[in-house]
Amino acid sequence: MPFIPHTENDIQSMLEAMKLSSVDALFDEIPVSLMLKQALDVPNGMNEMSITRLMQERAKKDEGYACFIGAGAYDHHIPAAVWELASRGEFLTAYTPYQAEASQGGLQVLYEYQTMIASLTAMDVANASLYDGASALAESVLMAVRCNKKVKNNRVFFLGTLSPLYRKAVDTIIDPQGIELIEIPYSTTTGVVDVSVLAHLQEKDANALIIQQPNFFGCLEAVDELTDWAHHHNMLVVAAVNPTALALVTPPGEWGERGADIACGDGQPLGIPLASGGPSFGFLTCKMPLIRQMPGRVVGRTLDDEGKQGFTLTLQAREQHIRRAKAKSNICTNQGLLVVAAAIYMSLLGTEGLRRVALACHNNTRRLVEKLKTIGSVSLQFTSPFFHEFVLALPVPVKPLIDQAAESGLLIGYDLKPFIADDEHWLLVAVTETKTEEDLDRFVAFFKAHLQGSSASKEQQTSAEAAK
């Protein structure tokens, strides 16, 4: 069922105009030996009615869960206007604004977005987005290495509390360029890096320090001290941040004496559906002097021939379509549509709305933590302040509980076993503004029902000791 307008008459008259007898003749430059001899082995086509039935059946299988998983993707309310507007064909079906005069709408949205995200991170400038938070962090690391002229090696420090999901993608992307990531260990008591360990690091010579705030566990790092330490040792500071949290916690541009140099993150909390993790978008902001090393599309405001204001892609001399092998990155597309959605989301929420969303997330999280305290056998793993996410230490392995909970429509969190110290009792739980008192009670009731009789077991305490 292709979307083709041609009638038989159209095809005949077009062939006649070319003095050809058949459509097949159009393919006569392809060697016959290579041509497919039969139709592809794929299912027969479907009309919209049939495919609708099929997709509704499949979507239903994954529907209706109360989600307490975070770990980099968060279940926020998305105002109806966000996707009503972003799905307009003029945004949805345009392409990269190569013809600026016919793309002023999309370009102005990107410029407004750049302004909003730069303000939220308290940084000078932003690009028009990258693929996701993890790849934005990889690009930030590559950028930091290019920018740091004082350091001659290829090392980059990161805190052990960085998302292991980000870490994996960063590894993949920077590995071919021979950049080495060195971990600074965190405290399994506080859940953050203890700044006193910095003094004991054997090696302090590196291009950059990556700080995630809040960190993967939801804990808040001592960003001011970490930033000043890194700057004191000639490193650039790369911040990986959650945009919702920035309505409440210190933005990277204000960390320490001088602020972070590059700040990035995933824009999903800003009006992007979870959608299995993508498409989302990565944001990248930096201090002005670093702008020419920044990858990705950037929109600038300029004047037209008559002195009227307009918008255009700028600093294109950094990019692959101009510089080819000498480009700052191979990136071509950004995530334009998601940025449109984020700009609409940030406009709708505004300064006050986003602050309230952040507070509501955090208050719900604290309420859940309080309620959980009534169950004697679970406890918070870490002592540090947190934002909208925390690690729960359970007396039993997490994995079977997650499966049981899913059967009753509850996604209780993320099992940290594959990543962290191989401890199978740590559950990462996120709570957003979407959760009602009933949702929280349901969560607690599940644990009460399934942990009855078990107290903080000896086994768990032993493994927690071992992790230290």
């Binding site: 059946e57 945004f91 005069e101 999309g106 980000y166 505004g350």
Partner: protein
């Protein structure tokens, strides 16, 4: 038009969108709290709706205008596909939801992997790369892994034809390869002698787009394939132009070892003003072990993700989760709608439209870059003759076409044809639209001959006139700074 910041008023906000948080409390220590307010817009919901609706109206798009942007495949993006991919079960699924709660999406992704392997003639597919350029990066990284696994560490070069997309050399460099560029022959095919000279024991691979960005099919592909493989190197297929050969010829049958597809081109997912895209990679048996993660696997009990444990030699993850799943879903729905017969019909009508347009423009006196060749799904004209005679450049044609209500073709790419326009109509355009485009081109050509200034100063009907790009790059204005706040 006003910026959203111009209509912002302190204290205004969309009350319906802000959760009630009384009393507003926070236990976060004050030294970690934000001391300055972010300057987001302070506007009402209606103001937001009106502002962004009006902005949308300043865009050309497929839904509103003919958009023959070469090498971008701006075909119709079916509304039903977008709607089905937005069903709650898909849109609200957390990326880390347990597999038991994810069988619907996993089945779609598995089916898509299977279909793409068949469509490309390859053995295995990973959907992970989030765009074509990331697919290229993954493909080249796999080529590196292949050589290194065989103990061959001396291959330091990737060969790229001069007509290639800029992403090809940039991706090779991101994988720490040196790029060796080879020229194209006068007939549009690869210069075989130059290829022979470039190949050596240092060659890791070659990146080819077939049909090439010149809009012609590489006729000596079998010979190229043999030369490259005989040199111990691998062949990478850039699937940017796959729409021209869908269901007709498969990269696997041409002898390619690895490829990426641009789902936002051939499989009709919306371009979204410059993304999101998706660039799945497909490989033959040589490279299967190195595919990026995650993949979806079918077991006796259902569908599951495969991880490092299943694929220990994988090149790794490319994103935090599974890539642009929402785009995979759209491509899958579109592919199921096309089905067996529909796929072939897509390439046939795409190629028919391009050749018809090429023939008509030639008759109208335009100069074809490769007049002796069949066009594929796209073709190139050059207006260098008119530049010489009247000083009108390809960019002037592009801008004037906007006044005629058509988006411009790609201009100044590929780099080796001077003053070129790369035109790709796609299969979803009707004959009437193609004829209207030819009429517009003829009208502009007449204007060039009678009133060249009119064309050189175009566009005249857009919301802005030609923009000063030099000023934009020199006096960088990338974020709005409110003078009253300084």
């Amino acid at each position: 038009m006003n910026l959203i910041f111009d209509i912002s008023r302190e204290g205004r906000f969309a009350h319906a969108q802000a959760p009630d948080t009384t009393p507003a409390t926070s236990d976060i220590p004050s030294h970690l709290l934000r001391q300055t307010k972010p300057r987001l817009p302070e506007v009402s919901e209606l103001q937001v709706v009106r502002h962004f609706t009006r902005l949308s109206q300043k865009n050309f798009s497929i839904d509103t205008h003919f958009y023959p942007l070469g090498s971008c495949t701006m075909k119709y993006n079916p509304k039903g596909v977008h709607k089905l991919a937005s069903l709650a079960g898909f849109a609200q699924r957390h990326p880390l939801a347990p597999e038991a709660a994810s069988q619907g999406i996993l089945q779609c992704l598995y089916d898509l992997q299977t279909m793409l392997a068949e469509i490309t003639g390859m053995q295995a597919v990973s959907l992970a790369p989030m765009a074509g350029a990331q697919g290229e990066f993954a493909g080249v990284a796999m080529i590196r892994a292949y050589h290194e696994a065989r103990g061959d560490f001396d291959r330091t070069e990737i060969i790229v034809p001069d007509a290639a997309h800029g992403t090809n050399p940039a991706s090779a460099v991101m994988c720490n390869y040196q790029v060796k560029e080879i020229p194209t022959g006068a007939d549009g095919d690869i210069d075989i002698e130059a290829l022979k000279a470039a190949l050596s024991e240092k060659t890791a691979g070659i990146m080819l787009t077939n049909p090439s960005t010149l809009g012609v099919f590489e006729r000596r592909i079998a010979e190229v394939q043999k030369l490259v493989h005989d040199a111990g190197a691998l062949l990478y297929y850039d699937g940017a132009n796959f729409n021209a050969v869908l269901g007709k010829v498969r990269p696997g049958d041409m002898g390619f070892d690895v490829l990426h597809l641009n789902l936002h081109k051939t499989f009709a997912t919306p371009h979204g003003g410059g993304g999101p895209g998706a660039g799945p990679v497909a490989v033959n048996d040589k490279l299967k072990a190195y595919l990026p993660l995650p993949l979806v696997e079918k077991t006796n009990t259902g569908y599951r993700w495969s991880t490092e444990k299943d694929l220990p030699e994988s090149m790794g993850q490319l994103s935090a989760f599974a890539g642009n799943v929402g785009i995979h879903l759209r491509a899958y729905i579109y592919a199921r709608m096309l089905g067996k017969q529909g796929m072939q019909r897509v390439s046939e009508m795409a190629v028919l439209n391009a050749n018809y347009l090429q023939a008509r423009l030639k008759d109208a006196g335009f100069v074809l870059a490769y007049p002796d060749r069949r066009a594929t799904h796209e073709f190139i004209i050059t207006v260098a003759d008119q530049t010489k005679a009247h000083g009108v450049k390809a960019m002037d044609y592009a801008k004037r076409l906007l006044d005629y209500g058509m988006h411009a073709p790609t201009v100044y790419f590929p780099l080796l044809v001077p003053e070129c326009l790369l035109i790709e109509p796609t299969e979803t355009e009707s004959k009437e639209t193609l004829d209207a485009f030819v009429d517009a081109m003829i009208a502009i050509k007449q204007e060039v001959e009678t009133d060249a200034t009119l064309v050189k100063t175009a566009p005249h009907t857009m919301v802005v006139r030609r923009l000063d790009d030099v000023r934009a790059a020199r006096l960088l204005d990338l974020v709005y700074v409110d003078a009253s706040c300084q």
